[in-house]
Amino acid sequence: MISPFLFWIFALMMLIFGAAVIINRNPVASALSLVVSFLGLAALFLSLDAYFIGIIQVLVYAGAIMVLFLFIIMLLDLRAEKLRKINWIASAGGIAVAVALMLQIFSVVGKFSAAREKFPPLPGSTSDDVHRIGLLLFSNYNLPFQVIGIVILVATVGVVVLSRRES
């Protein structure tokens, strides 16, 4: 199990850069903050002995998805947005709903007795988790796995159709 010091380092890194995503006015800075936030999250996954998930988090999110975001931001040539007139009532409402959601989550976790227990020790090694997840994907979750393939195919065709220029 991870030491508390490392847990707080990575958790704070994830939360601070996650907050920077929505605070930054420049979209490029937001995208780069999102990369750092996802790296912190990948470290937390590794701390939970989920090596495969941690690795694909870095590969898929920090690699593929963020490159897509940065590519679109630069393609559209988005500058830091000009400060518009802020609708204070709408902002206050949004903050109030978000704070209410956070208090709700805290109270639910606080009442959940298992949340105060430590993680049980793992007798075996988890270095074969790719093998275990692969076996599950091709046995119990075979149908969802094929459905997800169709989803990816539809998304690919849809993106090509959407980004085609009307001639």
Binding site: P123, D129, I133
Partner: protein, 106 residues
């Protein structure tokens, strides 16, 4: 000692940050990034529960990690389609600001 509750609280805080981003920001690309933050907060709590429920053979519950795998795949497809829509919209209106796109607004 780090307990399950620590991970759940951190996951809840990350979800709240993403939710606040969707509520407060008016740039479509930032809203998509905040959606990614929320999906990842859900992934974190799933993986924490996966590690918490050690099955009799001594391995974590891998069903949750398979579920995280599916969520990451769907998130990737969603971002690709979302950004394609943003590009098509930008070509039409030269804006990514949600308040400039009010044709369907009641």
């Amino acid at each position: 000692m780090v307990t399950l509750g620590h991970y759940l609280i951190v996951s809840g805080m990350l979800f709240t940050i993403g939710f606040a981003g969707v509520m407060l920001r008016r740039n479509i690309i930032i809203i998509l990034m905040a959606l990614e933050l929320m999906l990842n907060a859900a992934n974190l709590s799933l993986v924490a529960f996966s590690r918490f429920h050690v099955d009799p053979t001594g391995a974590p519950n891998y069903n949750a990690q398979v579920f995280v795998f599916f969520i990451i795949t769907v998130a990737a497809a969603e971002v690709a389609v979302g950004l394609a829509i943003v590009v098509a919209l930008f070509r039409l209106r030269q804006t990514t600001h949600v308040e400039d796109i009010a044709t369907l607004k009641f």
